[in-house]
Symmetry: C2
Subunit: 266 residues, 2 copies
């Protein structure tokens, strides 16, 4: 089984909650990679018997560090109509006092797509293919970095103009057919452009992450394990919090847009 699918495995409990394990395969420095936690939220909704449509929007708020070991997903259907469905989700982990701590809260909107006029307004990036580019490697202890084949078209922090988007190619390693949870996790592979502004890595942490999905399950399945191009930038770094916005392309197909608010220290 692919490490991504292993990471997202959850078992239903009698009370309807889902139980999973924080993935070591996607471990970051002090907890799991944020993208895998966000993907878990999408997956927990997709596993609900009442779910309709396709993932349309996710907002995942990183409430506290996720610790090693078990977590529980508490998923609530707030409202459902013919076209959209609104879910709320908490990821819980046991605390030393015998209770549960919320470590993530998220909202997922499901939507039923329809055969109406569609169009693209953003311009697809014209960049060299991934073949000739060097794969970026992280330090050995950062497990999640080995789960993605990341190839930067623009250097993530040595750039002439730090206001230009940072562009990278990305694909699961090993390659894996795309779906909405995978796209969610990939939406967190962007390097914060504050590194380019400050000329190196500074401490950052995602506070809130937003993903808008612009493709159906069938379209993703047809793409298979397609290379994606990411274009990411920030608008502002202000008194300890910055924003980030990014697009994910499969060729000239815009598959997702994503936004973050991050905490930073300088």
């Amino acid at each position: 089984m692919h490490p991504f699918d292993l990471a997202l495995q959850m078992q239903p409990r009698a009370d309807g909650r889902l139980v999973g394990q924080a993935s070591r395969d996607y471990w970051n420095v002090v907890g799991p990679y944020g993208g895998i936690t966000a993907a878990t939220a999408v997956q927990a909704v997709l596993l609900q018997p009442a779910v309709i449509g396709e993932p349309l929007a996710l907002t995942a708020n990183f409430v506290a560090p996720v610790r090693p070991g078990e977590f529980t997903a508490q998923v609530t259907l707030e409202r459902s109509n013919r076209t959209t469905q609104h879910w709320h989700l908490r990821l819980l982990q046991p605390n030393p006092d015998g209770g549960d701590d919320v470590v993530l809260q998220a909202m997922v909107v499901m939507g039923v797509r329809r055969d109406v006029w569609s169009g693209l307004s953003a311009r697809a990036p014209q960049v060299e293919g991934p073949e000739g580019l060097k794969r970026r490697r992280g330090r050995d202890q950062i497990a999640w970095f080995s789960r993605y084949d990341l190839r930067f078209v623009t250097h993530p922090f040595k750039v002439e103009n730090p206001d230009e988007p940072i562009v990278h190619w990305v694909r699961d390693d090993p390659p894996r057919p795309l779906d909405h949870p995978a796209l969610t996790a990939i939406a967190d592979t962007f390097f914060p452009s504050i590194f380019a502004h400050r000329g190196g890595v500074v401490p950052v942490a995602t506070v809130s992450m937003n993903v808008y999905f612009h493709c159906s399950r069938a379209e993703l399945t047809a793409l298979g394990a397609h290379w994606l191009i990411g274009e990411g930038r920030s608008n502002v770094f202000h008194e300890g919090f910055l924003d980030a916005e990014a697009r994910l392309w499969a060729g000239d197909r815009l598959v997702a847009t994503t936004h973050q608010v991050m905490w930073y220290r300088d």
Copy 2:
């Protein structure tokens, strides 16, 4: 009292919930203007005794049409630490069966700003001032439209290139000092660029709205009733759902960025 402050008035109940009235002053076609409902969510959090810091991020999901009359805000503090605070909110309205319907669910992140390096990456728009521009009027029955002095720099649907951002000036009418709830409501004044693509108004409805705040309360207070410049665009219109992203500027100060997923019919 300013109609905006009247619209946001809520009374605490014994169980901690807040009770308010859907504002007629900000009425849209079949319910209140989405921006006033989103602003209500921010205000309901700001009224909580345990609140710390400044609004950092709001995601408001429009779960069902808000009806005339009373609503109740149920606000939950999911987690608090030294730097951030995570809130969840439901707006409820009574249904004919004697129960409550969720009409909005939202998450608000509060953050404590710090005196660290700050910077701007986005470029402020260089546009003519609002003085020489004609105010855009809506049909008389659309009350919320009279609550904003909206002056378009680019025509909202007759444009040469519908992929270019739509730029407008906006201010509360009557003018009112800025704060985070006001900024939230203003973040919903953008005209969807699908009107430009389709050459006229088509039915749209916001499904999810995101606001990232890039200024403190003190900075907003110093700005007073400043004119804001909005730059809004869409990336994609796909099978019944579109995205929108926008920036709000006070001169060369980026005060907020905002994103939406909207349902559309064509």
